[in-house]
Symmetry: C2
Amino acid sequence: MRATVLHTSYDVRLEDVPDPKLDGPGDAIVKVVASCICGSDLWPYRGEPPVKAPRRIGHEFVGIVQEIGSEVRTVKPGDFVIAPFVVSDGTCPHCLAGFQTACVNRVGYGTDRADGGQGEYVKLPYADGTLVATPEVPDDSLVPSLLTLSDVMGTGWHAARSARVKPGDTVVVVGDGAVGLCGVLAAARMGAERVVSMSRHEPRQKLAKEFGATDIISERGDAGRDAVLELTDGVGADAVLECVGTGQSMTTAFDVARAGATVGFVGVPHGVEVPIGTMFGRNVGLAGGASPCRAYLPALMADVLAGEIDPGKVFDSVLPLADVAEGYRAMHERRAIKVMLRP
Amino acid sequence: MRATVLHTSYDVRLEDVPDPKLDGPGDAIVKVVASCICGSDLWPYRGEPPVKAPRRIGHEFVGIVQEIGSEVRTVKPGDFVIAPFVVSDGTCPHCLAGFQTACVNRVGYGTDRADGGQGEYVKLPYADGTLVATPEVPDDSLVPSLLTLSDVMGTGWHAARSARVKPGDTVVVVGDGAVGLCGVLAAARMGAERVVSMSRHEPRQKLAKEFGATDIISERGDAGRDAVLELTDGVGADAVLECVGTGQSMTTAFDVARAGATVGFVGVPHGVEVPIGTMFGRNVGLAGGASPCRAYLPALMADVLAGEIDPGKVFDSVLPLADVAEGYRAMHERRAIKVMLRP
């Protein structure tokens, strides 16, 4: 089969690799219907950290189950399944508590135990603990939105949930990538009265509004903070979603939070120093992390199938898998919000 | 009148100072019935930060209202009142949201606007927003427990509330000072099934058990973490109360938290680096800060008056105000958990 391999910084290729085979009784092999490129894939693509050896990549995909091991019970060949971005056993204490990204048997994609998602097929272990099947094979028009449940929509939801968004809240979303935009959608769906998207890219501003943003702030840094404070009579936001992961975005997130608010963070932290003094003085909490998308999948899938949410709009580019290198370039250069790949 | 003045490191004295006078229509003058020394008073006492000029000190007291300004409505001369450790106006958005320590008109004790608490009288502004009166002047036996509502019991409660303790939880309390002990009491009162006190001082262990601790762990650092993990089948605690404020205590707090748990922190941070990578990977949140004791006062006061809680047991030393210097020494040398001062 063909699958994406990251060779070194800025060198990603679709290559022939061995066909997947079942290794254990809990395994499944999924024929990928659609996959995509994640903002977090761009870190190794840019050499942060440096790529030491060629590696398979990709952790967001949907597809049709081809084969299952003898002990798999919840999915069967022919099922359309959504794969959260981490493989989890579904039975450990952390999985049972709804924090599958901390599974004691957690497996990453693109390793020797699970194939990378940006390929034609993916073999993975713990199929029962990981995959979620739709009730029937969905219409192709629903594929983009279902694909977002692998990561970006589940992650935006996690940001909002971690920030404890509640009906009537004023919510600020820092970051206008696919996750930030899904965070806007999540906050609106949770009943926030005012959703402020901090975005300076016009197409993203437009999508933020479609997703429920009531206000757009294009300034950054101190000017961005001042704009939020002006919007909120100097008080700040009831909840803040930090969807970038840099030091600047985290600083802004704390700066715009009102006393007693929580910053929900889901951007992989890079160079972030947590302002513990600010947190203490103003009782601003910090919660979040790697989203347990598996926990949110059943409810969000129901919302997508019912037409309640349409997070698939974050895909502004669809490419054949063969053009994966162009997909990475487009996201790296911010020409695309998010690229979907179809084998 | 006489009041306590911190001159420089390790030099604290009871001195004659000018009698207080009402300055504004919202002021009150309280005759102190009992005050106490706080763990946070020990930081400047030890010269962290260095004392630049002699300053009045103390922020926990109860007393009888002597005089009020013309606009004070909720307390009157003769009332027994409890003073939270921060003066707050009670009307700003942060006060109304229950985060009075972030009041936009916040005033500290021992400043030119409010006298220090370790004195014979205290004048303060915003009496209506700050003081809470008991229904009647309480029996003297209740004074210690009511005095803890100024700070340590309200702060222990805030640690537990910030950590989102819920019935049935396994809770770890890091720190066996008065606040940590009150945190044990708070967690037990909130219905925690297992309350683990990390304490290596025998008298404090004993009090922790009286307050509801089910387990005591005397080890620190990695050994302490391992002991908690052994107690919890390797899973960790559902909620962690960090009641010290040092780098080591914060590290331990995160180390013993299970995935998805929250560390509630109330120790003033000194040299703390927040382990953002751990937080992200295991979804361990951090919340807390300067406790809005004013918000908790009515309910905790009712609990004390009803005999439901007896946090006053943290006072293992009662000294006349004239011996304030000995009180500081006793707490600094850890000969006393907490010292009450009676004028």
